[in-house]
């Protein structure tokens, strides 16, 4: 009976609102009725051009959703220049989201990884957990989601133009020295996430990270997003320390579009 509603490849939605977040990052709002969970992603189709994975950066009960896109190439540029009323295709939600375990939680994010991490931070805060969000950016201008109601935010910049001057991992270590945390959650450049894994396991703090890999199908069949026998689109994008510690590719190598092994 279900199929008699018709066969689609993707759900076409209209962009309802475009919100500029930084000089190179915008959030696109639309409505998509689904059971999206914190940390999941969509495959976003730019009709006629490309389809790219995007974390779900806002999840409202009434079906309102957003993705937050950083302009890094052709597809993301097209998304960043879209206007309200234009159409995109949505497949998903896909993947496994954050476990949301832990009581005193340190979230460490960088770059467009903040799009994913921000929903985790908000969700931890909503259920009354003690949340500290540590954001790394190149400069003050690149800072994404720097202010959040009800969440302690700490900032680092590479050039010192805001907050801590240096790597966000160094900032994170300082916070870990000052306070007790029982959970570390991270999303951002893989080298940074790898560093946080080392820190977390040295301190025996539970850890999870949301990974990025080149994606094609998004549904666990094509192997494009493979990492150590897992698929980021299905086993992830969020993986626990227990798995990541066993994957020697993590923070080291990835696959290109042809499936060749390349250095990160």
């Amino acid at each position: 009976m279900k199929h008699s509603e018709g066969l689609k490849g993707t759900d076409i939605v209209e962009i309802e609102k475009v919100q500029r977040e930084t000089h190179d990052t915008v959030s696109l709002y639309f409505t998509h009725h689904d059971d999206a969970k914190t940390g999941q992603f969509y495959m976003v189709w730019i009709p006629g051009l490309d389809e790219v994975p995007m974390s779900i950066s806002a999840i409202e009960e009434d079906g309102r959703r957003s993705v937050t896109v950083k302009d890094v190439g052709e597809a993301t540029h097209a998304l960043c220049t879209m206007k309200a009323g234009e159409q995109i295709g949505i497949r998903g939600p896909f993947g496994k989201g954050y476990t949301l375990v832990g009581k005193r939680v340190l979230l460490v994010g960088g770059g467009s990884g903040m799009a994913s991490l921000i929903v985790a931070a908000r969700e931890y805060a909503r259920v009354g957990k003690d949340v500290t969000l540590c954001i790394g950016a190149r400069t003050k201008e690149d800072l994404l989601f720097g202010e959040q109601a009800g969440i302690k935010v700490e900032v680092s910049t590479d050039d010192g133009s805001a907050g801590f001057h240096g790597f966000v991992t160094d900032l994170a270590e300082r916070l870990l020295n000052e306070d007790d945390y029982d959970m570390i959650v991270t999303c951002g450049p893989e080298i940074m996430m790898k560093k946080m894994l080392d820190i977390a396991s040295a301190r025996e703090i539970k850890y999870e990270a949301s990974l990025e890999r080149l994606m094609k199908c998004g549904i666990g069949v094509c192997d494009a997003c493979a990492i150590g026998g897992y698929r980021v689109c299905k086993g992830g994008p969020v993986f626990p320390d227990t798995i990541l510690l066993k994957i020697d590719e993590f923070g080291e190598r990835r696959r290109d579009a042809a499936g060749r092994v390349v250095k990160l």
Partner: protein, 312 residues
Amino acid sequence: MSDLSVNIVGPRMKNPLMLASGILDETGESMLMAVKKGAGAVVTKSVGLEANEGHRNPTAFEIGDGLGLLNAMGLPNPGINDYEREVKIALTGGVPVIGSVFGRDGKDFSYLAGKMEDYGASAVELNLSCPHAKGVGMDIGADPEEVGIIVSAVSSAVSIPVFAKLTPNVPNIADIALSAVKAGAEGVVAINTLKGMIISPETGLPVLGNRLGGLSGPAILPVGVRSVFEIKQRFMKEEVNAVIIGVGGISSAHDALQYIMAGADALQIGSVMRWKGAAVFGEIASGISDFMDREGYSTIKDMVGIAQEAKK
């Protein structure tokens, strides 16, 4: 107690279930995962001469609620030279690895097959059936004669068994199968995907980056079972003794048994992993075993092709 093992390629397979080409087998580690979950053998992603990024996205998606997948990956692969690494890793799983290759002619195919043999593959599978790549796949695999020429070239170039993977987008799949086997193939694999397209009316565009793609999953099961039935029927009539590997839409032990009774000696499993993951290998194997115990079959061979004998 039922015995699921079959003797198709290299070491005896503990069950007749292989990982199908192109689904979770571009990397060695992913093939190992399928082995861990119970696959009796694995087929690699189809590999060509050069590294190839494939078509642009969207390259694959689900249609309906579990009805099937439509894909136009465009045969992405690292190229045969880089692929040694993946085969070697897959081989550590201890089950036969079948190297799938694609090319434009007998020369390409022979070279690629030779490399796969060198890497340690137990057999090669010739992709004569991909429906969405120019000049390769079904562009050359829909004609019995061309298939014969390619198979014959490869068969004399390698000493491991050669399997021809066939397209269902033809009126006469049994003719093509017969031609492949007469040219020296150990057997055939049926079926590859059905040529298909999905359009998004709101945008007026085909959804796949390549527009045209291949349909797989539950939707194509009846076409695959029929194809295997027709091939087996022809092999019996011509008294040809060759292996048939059934693939297309298998989601359950019930589906797998349909292929076996139509005439398949072994099976390949692909799209269903979108819904059940690699755990489906264990599920189907134990489902077949339960069925055999219940209905009194002791080996897979006892069931192969029994639907052919239906009074008619």
